[in-house]
């Protein structure tokens, strides 16, 4: 009978044990977002009964940046307890297999999902429109939809395909709404100082007149992988928040006269509070710095 030396068996056994530990660690990493040490500079909300929400954009990479930003989002929640999140598109980059939904959405945002914080997604150009059937995106099976939170009506649009049906629907819904605040959000920014994409002029031609005539004062978008607050255009404040995982560093044209505030050196997200006639916003970087903040007072009666 052939025998194997004890030392070889011991070495093999050791290698097997190491492989098992490695596998366990990998699984653990998959199951939980990494813990970051940087503290958040998020300020607590000002109003007691205000509506508080998170703005996430261009997030679905499944990479380290997304996980670190997600960690900051959860840290922010401890100080600024937002009740829901809006996603301005590109919710999943690349393939959309079940494991991608896990890696690019369910695992990084697990603390929020476990805390029953609903996400309301809009579709980006990287998203399969059939994401609308994915329950955790709360799209009600539709490419575009609306929902109400107290005095605020949100309109999640599909800016990838602004056909006549959607225009008509938007026009009707905007007219119909008596809410104090009407907040559309969608993927493509109507105004942008981005060097790669820039403003979506076509889309602007069609939907901005509807916003103006129906008293919209704040709009959120993504697509550009940075943060930008545009100087008010026709009385409307436009935010681009497309850097919650992807980053296009240095893409903001510094010479743009439209920019009120821009941030393109780190990933970011926003927390927003609506307190009666006042909207307060804070923009937080991947490492927890508050890079922009301010308040907007509603002017339409």
């Amino acid at each position: 009978m052939k025998t194997v030396p004890v030392r070889i068996v011991a070495v093999l056994w050791g290698l097997l044990a190491l492989a098992a530990v490695g596998q366990a660690l990998t699984e653990q990493q998959k199951a939980a977002p990494p813990v970051m040490s940087a503290a958040t500079e998020v300020q607590p909300p000002g109003g007691k009964d205000s509506i508080k929400f998170l703005v996430v954009g261009d997030s679905g990479t499944g990479d380290r940046a997304q996980y670190e930003v997600a960690d900051q989002m959860w840290k922010a929640h401890a100080v600024f307890p937002y009740e829901f999140a809006i996603m301005v598109g590109d919710n999943l980059y690349g393939s959309e297999r079940p494991q991608d939904f896990a890696k690019k959405f369910e695992i990084p945002y697990k603390p929020m999902l476990d805390a029953n914080i609903p996400f309301y997604a809009a579709l980006g150009n990287h998203d399969d429109p059939n994401q609308r059937f994915y329950k955790p995106f709360n799209m009600g099976g539709q490419r575009f939809y609306t929902f109400q939170k107290k005095d605020v009506r949100f309109f999640a649009l599909d800016s990838n395909y602004m056909d006549k049906d959607q225009q008509k629907w938007l026009e009707d819904e905007l007219k119909k709404s008596n809410s104090k605040w009407k907040i559309p959000y969608f993927h493509h920014p109507l105004y942008s100082s981005g060097g790669t994409h820039g403003s979506e002029v076509d889309l602007r031609t069609i939907i901005e007149p509807l916003f103006i005539s129906s008293g919209v004062e704040v709009v959120f978008a993504g697509h550009e992988h940075f943060y930008e607050r545009i100087k008010p255009q026709h009385g409307i404040y436009y935010f681009t928040a497309g850097g919650s995982a992807k980053l296009r560093e240095g893409d903001l044209r510094g010479s743009s006269a439209m920019t009120a505030k821009g941030f393109d050196t780190e990933q970011s997200f926003m927390v927003v509070e609506i307190d009666g006639d006042v909207l307060r916003f804070q923009t937080i970087s991947r490492h927890g710095k508050r890079v922009d903040s301010g308040e907007i007072r509603r002017t339409t009666s």
Partner: protein
């Protein structure tokens, strides 16, 4: 002055009426619904209007644009019949927590349509004799845009991507935004279909099945480098 025959105008009016989807204007049951619930448009695929009859000799007076639109609509309706037939043969999709259900259903619907349309060839919907009409619409639209706008649009288009009729649109390739002003100039589509541009081709895509239904190649102008 160019004169348009009255008959042609009448046909165009009928087409316009047939193409415009006004059912989204239906009142929605909002007042009694809890404020927090998402509200969305009605699904329009359930009841399709009966397809118009094929062009006949009596339509000979229709101008080229009217004829192209009419024939296009007839072919779209024929496709939607197949889509609905396939849709009825696979398990229906409800909102789900499980993304696998979504992708499985999408694939099953696509497979069923591919089977029902086996042997489909480019030009099944973009009828060859009317393709110049669609090409002109797209090219005129691009001509009217500034160089910067044209470039911005073209840069976003997925390039180097091989597409073919009756195949799945690659799920890892982004769907480029369709220019809304161009969309206004093309004939309306039912909600289960959409136009997309891939490289220099205009495609018709089945939204629920993620399937390329037809292709019109070399439509988008190139930009000089």
């Amino acid at each position: 002055m160019t004169r348009i025959p009255l008959a042609a105008l009448a046909v165009l009016a009928v087409i316009a009426a047939g193409c415009s989807n006004t059912d989204t204007a239906e009142p929605r049951t909002l007042a009694g619904v809890a404020d927090q619930a998402p509200r969305a448009p009605q699904n329009k695929t359930a009841a399709q209007p009966a397809p118009p009859p094929p062009l006949t000799q009596s339509d000979a007076g229709v101008n080229a644009q009217g004829a192209a639109t009419l024939e296009f609509k007839r072919r779209i309706d024929a496709y939607i019949k197949i889509h609905n037939e396939a849709d009825g043969k696979v398990a229906s999709l409800k909102k789900t927590d499980d993304p696998k259900e979504i992708s499985d259903r999408e694939r099953a619907l696509a497979d069923m349509i591919m089977t029902l349309r086996a042997g489909a060839k480019p030009g099944e919907i973009f009828a060859p004799e009317y393709q110049p009409y669609f090409i002109k619409i797209v090219q005129d639209d691009f001509k009217q845009r500034s160089a910067a706008d044209r470039k911005a649009l073209i840069v976003e288009l997925p390039a180097k991507m091989k597409v073919d009729i009756n195949t799945i649109y690659p799920t890892t390739i982004p769907l480029a935004t369709f220019p809304p002003l161009l969309l206004r100039k093309l004939p309306d589509l039912p909600s289960d279909l959409e136009y997309r541009i891939v490289g220099r081709s205009l495609i018709l895509r089945d939204v629920k099945a993620n399937l390329i239904v037809d292709i019109l190649r070399d439509v988008v102008p190139t930009i000089p480098s």
